[in-house]
């Protein structure tokens, strides 16, 4: 246990050249598509507030301005990233967000800002509940997959009274380097966000966790900026082993002990936020701007000039890929990380908040047409949770969830290490996800 | 009427022998078939003894099944099987002592196997009751005991047919297995040397694993034939129904 976790994969990172180029804003396209649901947590559990389902507050034909909220009632509201007109509201399927209403907005190219009552105040006087309210109004959400928005997580961290807030900049997924670039280019903003979040959650200590190939200059700048804001940021370099960036495993690595099943890192006193979230939080709290764009890494061996771009939410993936140029016809396009993200069949899908990368891959592993388990045991060796993926897959094929839960399938974090290393190309993560879904009581 | 009866008898016989073959379909009495069938003589001996044993047991069953209370049926027939095998065993020892010695204790084990056959056959149908509504009709009084007697005879004949069928089915399996094992394993058949196979002497078949393998293949062949027949009858039925619709 002193080593953190056993298993895991040492992946080829391919971070260059995207990590060496600055983050550039991508101009908004002519038409944007905004799914209504981009976060988990709808409707609110526990009944603290009346459970309302989110819905769009605009109709086809209404004019919107940049930054205007176009939905209400959910945990993570959607704001219009451009100024223009809502042309229609359709129901569409998104590989990351699922099926739901999508607002289609025609961009008029003028980017007229939304003038709302200035939600600024003296930052020094902002207290916890006010910070949460503003984060909710700004709908800050930045992660690598569908998760709860920042204000919900921060509220929970405050409730559990965490002692340490960790900036999770450990990026062990190939190609993705958004956190590193943000910290490198805007360390002051991230530091300001950190200060505010520390105050909101009540944490006393702050840790910066980076992977050990992170640029030294970036790290130094970050620590200095935090110091200037009055926060002592402790540095923790984590070895570049996938999936160290996952919250539960990062906790094991930092705290040096395992996290018992069923408990969250917040119960143990550790809260995790990403640098992108802090950046957006700073923007939200200092300038009152909601989250209408995010930094994504556009990379992959089919992309001509990989880069990090600041893209408006709702931009079609095709537009993003064309901006960086495609050198070959991509075999696969992935939204998110190649280990856990969703493969995109139709590149007209829009970018949503939980997506941190758009990857166009030309080379595909020589797949076996018939997946076959030869019981080699490689998946057992790489599983970070020390499960037996081969037996779980064998039982999942027979749809025997009772036996799977005896093998502790609930502890599977779906990192994809087993499927990556399987020589027989067994779709292990797919099988596990399917049986978990099948075992849940029908909603 | 006699043709019908003959057809019914033939059907019962065929059913017990083929589609409900005790060894190759129901997988009963596998142990003696595997253990001692190293030569054809052994196979023939156990087939004969099994046939006689089955006849005795089925007859006893036909006669006494309904008269015994349910709890006593199992023990009584088991004891009857053991009692029936004893004279058969002694006769075998008298007539063919060397073959009986080769078969060893698997001969009395046939009693237990016969009991398994008998226990897994459906119960004999009850005879018509003495006082039935038809019996109250005038003139029917004279036929009621006749009807009972006829039903009784029918039951005995049915039991004999079942015994013959099971016995023949067992005999088929035992003779087939022992014939193949002896021919390929030792190159002889009924102690007569086969010129071509003498050189082969595939000793594996004389050992238990070979017997299991051979029986496995036989079972597979029987299943294959079964499936094909079922598919053909199902195709035939579909043709018939489609013909009826059209």
């Amino acid at each position: 246990m002193f080593n953190g976790f056993s298993g895991g994969l040492w992946l080829d990172m391919h971070k260059k050249p995207a990590v060496e180029r600055p983050v550039e804003p991508l101009p908004a396209p002519a038409r944007l598509y905004l799914p209504l649901r981009q976060a988990l947590g709808d409707p609110l559990p526990g009944g603290a507030q009346p459970a309302r389902t989110p819905e769009f507050t605009v109709q086809p034909g209404s004019r919107v301005r940049m930054g205007e909220p176009i939905s209400a009632g959910g945990v993570c509201d959607v704001h219009s990233p451009v100024s223009g007109r809502v042309t229609q509201i359709i129901v569409a399927d998104h590989p990351v967000c699922g099926t739901g209403p999508v607002a289609v907005i025609e961009n008029n190219g003028k980017d007229l800002p939304y003038e709302k009552p200035a939600a600024r105040g003296n930052l020094k006087k902002l207290a916890g509940p006010e910070i949460f309210a503003r984060l909710r109004a700004a709908a800050v959400l930045s992660a690598e997959e569908m998760t709860e928005p920042l204000w919900m997580r921060a509220q929970r961290m405050a409730e559990r009274q965490i002692g340490t807030l960790v900036i999770n900049a450990v990026e062990t997924e190939p190609y993705i380097c958004t956190g590193e670039k943000l910290m490198g280019e805007n360390p002051e903003a991230v530091a300001k966000g950190l200060v505010l979040l520390l105050r909101a959650t009540g944490a006393k200590k702050a840790v910066l966790a980076v992977s050990d190939d992170c640029d030294h200059g970036t790290v130094r700048d970050m620590v200095e900026s935090a110091h200037l804001e009055g926060v002592e940021l402790k540095l923790s370099r984590i070895r570049q082993k996938y999936p160290s960036g996952y919250d539960r495993l990062l906790y094991c690595l930092l705290a040096g002990r395992p996290l018992p099943a069923g408990r969250e890192p917040e119960d143990a006193g550790y809260g995790f936020v990403g640098p992108e979230e802090l950046y957006e939080a700073c923007r939200a709290l200092t300038e009152g701007k909601p989250q209408i764009s995010r930094v994504v890494t556009v990379a992959g061996d089919a992309v001509e000039s990989p880069q990090n771009l600041e893209v408006r939410i709702g931009t079609p993936v095709r537009y993003i890929l064309e901006a960086c140029g495609l050198s070959h016809d991509p075999e696969r396009v992935v939204a998110g990380s190649i280990m856990r993200g969703a493969a995109i069949a139709d590149t007209a899908v829009p970018l949503v908040k939980p997506v941190s990368a758009v990857l166009a891959l030309a080379s595909k592993k020589k797949g076996a047409v018939h997946p076959l388990c030869i019981n080699c045991g490689k998946c057992v060796r790489v599983c970070p949770q020390r499960l037996l993926p081969n037996y779980i897959a064998m039982l999942a094929v027979k749809a025997d969830f009772g036996a799977c839960s005896r093998l502790h399938i609930e502890e599977c974090i779906e990192c994809g290490s087993c499927a990556y290393i399987c020589p027989g190309r067994m779709p292990l993560v797919e099988l596990i996800k399917n049986i978990k879904k099948a075992a849940q009581p029908a909603d | 009427m006699w043709r019908n009866r003959a057809a019914r008898c033939g059907r019962t016989l065929w059913r017990e022998c083929a589609s409900r073959n005790p060894v190759l379909v129901r997988a009963l009495a596998v142990s003696p078939v595997l253990a001692v069938t190293v030569s054809l003589k052994n196979g023939v001996l156990i087939s004969i003894v099994m046939l006689l044993e089955l006849v005795i047991l089925f007859l006893l069953r036909a006669l006494f099944y309904r008269r015994l209370p349910e709890v006593l049926r199992g023990p009584v027939f088991f004891a009857a099987a053991g009692a029936a095998i004893t004279p058969l065993w002694m006769a075998a020892r008298y007539f063919v002592p060397d073959v009986t010695a080769a078969v060893g204790f698997y001969l009395p084990l046939l009693a237990a196997c016969a009991f398994a056959f008998v226990a897994t056959v459906p119960a004999p149908a009850p005879l018509p009751v003495q006082s039935s509504p038809e019996a109250e009709e005038p003139g029917a009084q004279a036929t009621a005991p006749a009807v009972r007697k006829a039903a009784g005879v029918r039951r005995i004949v049915h039991a004999l047919l079942e015994a013959a069928g099971s016995g023949l089915g067992f005999a088929f399996a035992a003779v087939a297995v022992s014939g193949i094992r002896e021919a390929i394993g030792s190159g002889t058949l009924y102690d007569r040397v086969l010129p071509g196979l003498e050189k082969l002497k595939f000793a594996f078949l004389l050992l238990p694993p070979g017997a299991f393998l051979l029986l496995g293949f036989l079972l597979a062949a029987v299943q294959a034939v079964h499936l094909r027949r079922k598919r053909r009858t199902r195709a035939g039925e579909e043709e018939e129904t489609s013909g009826n619709d059209g």
């Binding site: 388990c373 037996l388 093998l407 | -």
Partner: protein, 306 residues
């Protein structure tokens, strides 16, 4: 599979060096018949082709390496049929067989034609390449000698270099160890099974020596004789028929070693390793289950407090 075949090449060359072209002929016949039977079976039952995964070739090679050089040429064909069709394909093909096909075929041949399988020619004797050798010098294997309680005819150095009467694959220890190390480096076989297997046999030989000249000699002779090393390094580590967890593998190796020792000391045949592995094959699932239960109870899972 490709790596395994690559490592078998030096062993093949060495066996050709000892026994002449016959070794190559037997291996070739074995490989061709294994691949042929697999292709034929898949074609006749209209199943997808599976020859591309090279597992049939590996079965052929391992089967050939467990035959004596004086086996008739049709021997591997019969063995290949049993291995590929009955033990592997009838159970469901690659990944679903319970028993190691090559080893089961070796046992099948040993049981069916014991005379052929237990007469080992001396190395460096000329043997006809295709015809069945009739007159050849046989040597007494170390195992038969140890069984009789006498000193083996070969010196330790001869055992180490492999120039002793034995199976085709029983060649120089150093070559086999090098092959095994290469496979370990490529993460194709696990270290746990050979270590436990050979370690148990060595420990038993040390505690109950059979060699009259002392414990150390006994350990070395027992470990290097017969097909123990070959089976422990390349056959018992077959991924399909071995456990997946490390604890399960250690237990499997230990039980195989124990059975080998018991069969060698008290069994009918002088060689016990092939039977031992075959006997332990059905227990693989149970061993993994036991290892998992130990993991759960012992708290060594990632998310359980110690």
């Amino acid at each position: 599979m490709g790596d395994l075949l690559i490592t078998m090449v030096p062993i093949l060359l060495l066996s050709c060096y000892y026994y002449g072209a016959r070794a190559f002929v037997l291996t070739a016949v074995s490989v061709v018949s294994c691949v042929g039977f697999e292709a034929l079976y898949r074609k006749m039952l209209r199943l997808p082709r599976s020859v591309g995964d090279l597992s049939a070739m590996a079965t052929g090679v391992i089967l050939a390496f467990n035959l004596p050089a004086t086996a008739p040429v049709w021997f591997p064909v019969v063995g290949a049929f049993f291995a590929v069709v009955i033990v592997k394909q009838l159970f469901g093909g690659l990944g679903r067989n319970i028993f190691n096909p090559a080893l089961a075929a070796v046992v099948f041949l040993t049981v069916s034609w014991p005379g052929v399988m237990s007469s080992f020619p001396l190395p460096f004797n000329p043997l006809p390449a295709f015809a069945t050798p009739v007159h050849f010098e046989t040597g007494r294997t170390a195992l038969s000698a140890l069984r009789a309680g006498s000193m083996p005819d070969n010196t330790l150095l001869e055992m180490f270099l492999g120039s002793r009467p034995g199976y085709l694959g029983a060649c120089a220890v150093i070559v086999m160890l090098a092959a095994a190390l290469y496979l370990l480096y490529r993460r194709i076989i696990s270290w746990a099974i050979p270590a436990a297997f050979v370690g148990t046999v060595a420990a038993a030989a040390a505690i109950f020596p059979r060699c009259p000249s002392g414990r150390l000699d006994s350990v070395l002779f027992e470990v290097m004789s017969g097909s123990l090393l070959f089976i422990a390094l390349f056959v018992a580590t077959d991924p399909v028929t071995s456990p997946v967890t490390t604890v399960g593998r250690l237990l499997y190796g230990f039980c195989c070693g124990l059975l080998t020792v018991l069969l060698r000391y008290f069994g009918i045949y002088p060689e016990g390793a092939c039977f031992a592995v075959l006997l332990m094959n059905p227990f693989v699932l149970a061993m993994d289950r036991l290892a998992w239960k130990l993991k759960v109870k012992g708290g060594t899972l990632q998310y359980v407090e110690e």
